[in-house]
C-alpha cells in the first residue's frame, strides 16, 4: 500500500530523497482522516465525491481553471498541491480516497429550507433530486458536502472566480446558473436545503 508521493520528487534534489514521506496519506492531512473534510482547515468532504469528479477537479486545479483567479487562499492551496501531482499520483490518491466510507458531520444552518427546496429544482436537473450527482453531466454529488463549502463555491461561481476558464465548460454551466440566483439569501436557502438531504449511498459513489 504505497500512496502518492510528492510531485516534486521528480524535480527535487536527489540527495534529499530520504526526507520525503514516501507513504504519507497526504490528502488526509487537510481533508481529514476519513477524507470527510475539515472545517478548521476549510477542506471539503472528499469521501462523498466519486472518482470521476475528483479527477476532473484535480485537472481543473492543474489547468488553472480553479484557484488561479481566486482570491480565496484555500483554493490556491489546493491548486499548488494539485500542480505538484503527476497523473500516476493523482490516480493513486483517488484510489485511496475512494476507499473511505461516505460520512458527514452534522451541521446546522439557518436558512429557509422550503424556499431552498423550491430553488433547488433547478439544481436537481443536473445534480439529481437527492443531490446525488450525475456523471454524464459532470455534476458532483452535493448531499453530504459541508454547507460552508457549498456556499463558498456558489459565491465563487457568482463572482467569476470559478467557472471562468475558457475550456472549463462544466464550470461555465455552474457559473451561469449561480449567477441567475438573486441574492446571498437564495444561496443560503439552497445550501440549507441540501444540508437536509440524506447522504448518497456508497454504491452511488462507486
Amino acid at each position: 500500500m504505497k500512496f502518492w508521493l510528492f510531485g516534486c520528487l521528480l524535480v527535487a534534489v536527489s540527495i534529499q530523497a530520504e526526507t520525503f514521506q514516501q507513504n504519507s496519506q497526504y490528502c488526509l492531512v487537510c481533508h481529514g482522516s476519513k477524507a470527510q473534510g475539515n472545517v478548521a482547515i476549510s477542506a471539503p468532504n472528499l469521501a462523498i465525491l466519486p472518482d470521476w469528479y475528483l479527477t476532473a477537479q484535480l485537472r481543473a486545479f492543474q489547468s488553472d481553471w480553479r484557484g488561479h483567479q481566486s482570491t480565496d487562499a484555500y483554493s490556491k492551496e489546493m491548486m499548488a498541491v494539485a500542480k505538484s501531482m503527476s497523473p500516476e499520483e493523482i490516480k493513486r490518491a483517488i484510489d485511496f480516497i475512494t476507499t473511505f466510507q461516505v460520512s458527514k458531520t452534522v451541521e446546522t444552518l439557518d436558512g429557509d429550507i422550503s424556499h431552498g427546496k423550491a430553488l433547488f429544482q433547478t439544481c436537481a436537473a443536473c445534480h439529481g433530486a437527492s443531490a446525488e450527482g450525475n456523471q454524464s453531466l459532470g455534476a458532483p454529488p452535493l448531499a453530504g458536502q459541508y454547507s460552508w463549502y457549498l456556499l463558498r463555491q456558489l459565491q465563487a461561481y457568482r463572482s467569476g472566480q470559478r467557472g471562468n476558464a475558457e475550456q472549463d465548460s462544466k464550470g461555465a454551466v455552474m457559473k451561469q446558473i449561480a449567477s441567475s440566483l438573486n441574492s446571498e439569501q437564495d444561496l443560503n436557502d439552497i445550501v440549507a436545503y441540501i444540508n437536509t438531504l440524506a447522504l448518497p449511498s456508497t454504491d452511488v459513489k462507486n
Binding site: 422550503s114 424556499h115 423550491a118 430553488l119 429544482q121 433547478t122 436537481a124 436537473a125 443536473c126 439529481g128 433530486a129 450525475n134 454524464s136 453531466l137 461555465a172 454551466v173 455552474m174 451561469q176 446558473i177 441567475s180
Partner: protein, 497 residues
C-alpha cells in the same frame, strides 16, 4: 338541479354517435355530411357550438389502409384534404405540419384504426398546422404524447380512445380556439388531457381515468371544462399556473357539470415532476389560477379532499417565478354536490381543520393566500380556509355557453424569425419550464449547458441521449426540419424566462 342530471346523461361516452356510418360493402369513401359532431355545451340548445372551423373540407380524400403509412398520405395531402384511415394497425408517428387537414379514422363495426407505439415510439400524432381535426382513433403504447398540438390554432380532437400512452394523452400546446370532446383517455403518466398555454378552449364529454392528472388546464385562458367523467386518477381536474413558462397565468376557467369521483390512484408521476406532488385523492386542484368557477360538479369519494386551492408556496415541487402571481385569486365555488371526500386526508389538512375547530373529512381545503374569492352555501361542505369567503354575486354561468371564438383564429406567423419561437412555445415548453422541473430539465439549465453552441443543441434535439437517471428520456424531435431545429435551438438559448 337539472344540469346535474344532464351531466349524468353525458357521462356515457358517445363515441358511436360521432362515428361514421359505413356500409359493409368495403372501403368506399363515405359521403361527407356537415355537422358530423356537436360541440357539447351546457345548453344543448340551438346555440351550442358545433365546430371551430368555418368550412368543411373541400379537397381530396386520401384513404389509408392497414399496411400503409398514414404519414405517406399526410405528405401527399394538400390543405383542405381529408385523410381517411381505415381500421388496422399503424405503428408510426404522424406529423402534420400543414393547415386544413382532417385526419379521420374510419370505424367499421366498432373497429378503429389503431395507432400502436409498440412501447418505443414517442408520439402518435403531432400537428403544427392550423384548422386540424383528429378523430376516431385508438391510440396506445406510445411513450410521449397521444395527440399533441404544437402551436396550431382552431383544432378539434374528438372521439378518440387513448390508452396507456406516455406522458400526455391529448395535449394541445399553444393553441387558440379548440375543442377536445368525446375522448376516452386512460393510463397516462402525467395528464390525460392537458391544455397548455392555450386560449379559448372547450373540453367536454370526455372520460379520463387511471391517469395521474385527469384534465389539466395549465397557463391557459378562457377554458370551459364540462360534462366530463373524471375518475380514478390521482387528481381529477386541475387548473394550474406552472411557474417558469412563457405564458404566466391561468384565467377564466369554468369547471362545471363534471363527475369527479374516486380519484384515489396512487401517484405514479415521474419523481420530482410537478404532478408528482399531487396528493392521491384530489378531486379538483386549483393552483395559482385566477377566476376559476367551480359549478354543479359531482365530487365524490376523493380521499384527500374534493377541492384543494393552493398557492405556489404551499405546493410541492414548484419553483418560483417572479413573473407569475403565485396566488389563486377570485376562485368562485358555486353549487356543487360533494360527498364522502377527505376520508383519508393528509396531515396538513387535519391541522388546518383543527385550527378552525372543525372535525370531519374535508371537502374543500384552501392553503396560502387567495384574494377576492367567494363561495355559495358553504355550510353544505366541510371546509378549511374558506370560512371568511363571502357568497358569490351570482349562482350560475348559464349565459356563458362557451369561450370559443366566433371566427377561426388567425394562424400564427410562419416567418423564419418566428419559427424558433413557436416551435419553442409549441414543443419545448411542453416539457421544459424555464426554471424548475416540468418533465425535462429547466431551460435555464439547458441554456447553461449549451450557452453559445446552438448547433450542439440542435443536434441534440434531433438525437437526444439520456443523461439523467431520474428523468424520462427525451423523444427525438427529428420530424422538425433542420432549419426549425436550428431556429428553436437559437430561440431556446435566448429566452429570458
Amino acid at each position: 338541479m337539472n344540469k346535474s342530471t344532464l351531466t349524468l346523461g353525458a357521462l356515457v361516452p358517445l363515441a358511436f354517435l360521432a362515428g361514421y356510418y359505413l356500409t359493409s360493402s368495403g372501403p368506399a369513401a363515405p359521403v361527407y355530411t356537415a355537422e358530423i359532431s356537436y360541440g357539447g355545451g351546457a345548453a344543448v340548445g340551438g346555440n351550442a357550438k358545433k365546430s371551430v372551423l368555418n368550412s368543411m373540407p373541400t379537397g381530396t380524400v386520401h384513404a389509408v389502409k392497414d399496411g400503409q403509412l398514414i404519414m405517406d398520405a399526410v405528405k401527399a395531402a394538400k390543405p383542405g384534404d381529408v385523410i381517411q384511415v381505415w381500421p388496422g394497425n399503424y405503428t408510426e408517428t404522424v406529423y402534420i405540419d400543414k393547415d386544413n387537414i382532417r385526419l379521420s379514422g374510419v370505424i367499421v363495426e366498432g373497429k378503429r384504426p389503431r395507432l400502436f407505439g409498440d412501447g418505443h415510439l414517442n408520439d402518435a400524432i403531432l400537428y403544427s398546422g392550423n384548422n386540424i381535426v383528429i378523430e376516431n382513433f385508438l391510440i396506445t403504447k406510445y411513450k410521449g404524447n397521444g395527440i399533441m398540438g404544437q402551436a396550431g390554432n382552431n383544432f378539434e380532437i374528438r372521439n378518440n380512445i387513448i390508452e396507456d400512452t406516455g406522458v400526455y394523452g391529448i395535449f394541445p400546446q399553444l393553441g387558440e380556439n379548440g375543442i377536445v370532446e368525446h375522448n376516452v383517455v386512460s393510463g397516462i403518466e402525467d395528464a390525460a388531457i392537458y391544455i397548455g398555454m392555450s386560449d379559448h378552449i372547450h373540453v367536454a364529454n370526455n372520460e379520463v381515468f387511471d391517469s395521474v392528472a385527469g384534465i389539466e388546464i395549465e397557463n391557459s385562458r378562457h377554458a370551459i371544462v364540462e360534462n366530463n367523467f373524471v375518475h380514478n386518477n390521482t387528481g381529477g381536474i386541475l387548473a394550474f399556473v406552472t411557474p417558469g413558462l412563457p405564458i404566466k397565468d391561468t384565467v377564466d376557467v369554468i369547471i362545471r357539470n363534471n363527475w369527479i369521483s374516486t380519484n384515489n390512484t396512487k401517484n405514479f408521476g415521474a419523481e420530482g415532476s410537478m404532478v408528482a406532488g399531487i396528493p392521491a385523492g384530489t378531486g379538483v386542484l386549483i393552483m395559482a389560477a385566477d377566476k376559476v368557477i367551480i359549478e354543479d360538479n359531482l365530487i365524490l369519494g376523493n380521499k384527500t379532499a374534493g377541492i384543494i386551492i393552493t398557492d405556489h408556496q404551499n405546493a410541492p415541487n414548484t419553483t418560483l417565478d417572479p413573473e407569475s402571481d403565485p396566488t389563486p385569486d377570485e376562485i368562485m365555488i358555486l353549487n356543487n354536490l360533494m360527498y364522502n371526500n377527505g376520508y383519508d386526508t393528509i396531515t396538513e389538512a387535519k391541522v388546518l381543520l383543527t385550527t378552525e375547530l372543525k372535525q370531519g373529512n374535508p371537502d374543500i381545503l384552501r392553503v396560502g393566500a387567495s384574494n377576492g374569492s367567494c363561495i355559495n352555501n358553504p355550510q353544505q361542505y366541510i371546509s378549511a380556509g374558506v370560512s371568511d369567503w363571502p357568497a358569490c354575486a351570482f349562482s350560475n354561468t348559464d349565459t356563458i355557453v362557451n369561450y370559443l371564438l366566433d371566427e377561426p383564429a388567425a394562424p400564427r406567423s410562419v416567418d423564419v424569425e418566428d419559427k424558433g419561437k413557436y416551435a419553442y412555445l409549441g414543443i419545448c415548453t411542453g416539457c421544459h419550464a424555464y426554471t424548475g422541473r416540468l418533465i425535462g430539465p429547466p431551460v435555464q439549465v439547458i441554456q447553461s449547458l449549451y450557452m453559445d453552441d446552438p448547433q450542439a443543441l440542435a443536434a441534440y434535439i434531433a438525437n437526444p441521449v439520456k443523461k439523467r437517471e431520474d428523468y424520462p428520456a427525451m423523444p427525438k424531435q427529428d420530424y422538425l426540419d433542420e432549419e426549425t431545429r436550428q431556429a428553436v435551438a437559437l430561440y431556446m438559448l435566448s429566452v429570458k424566462n
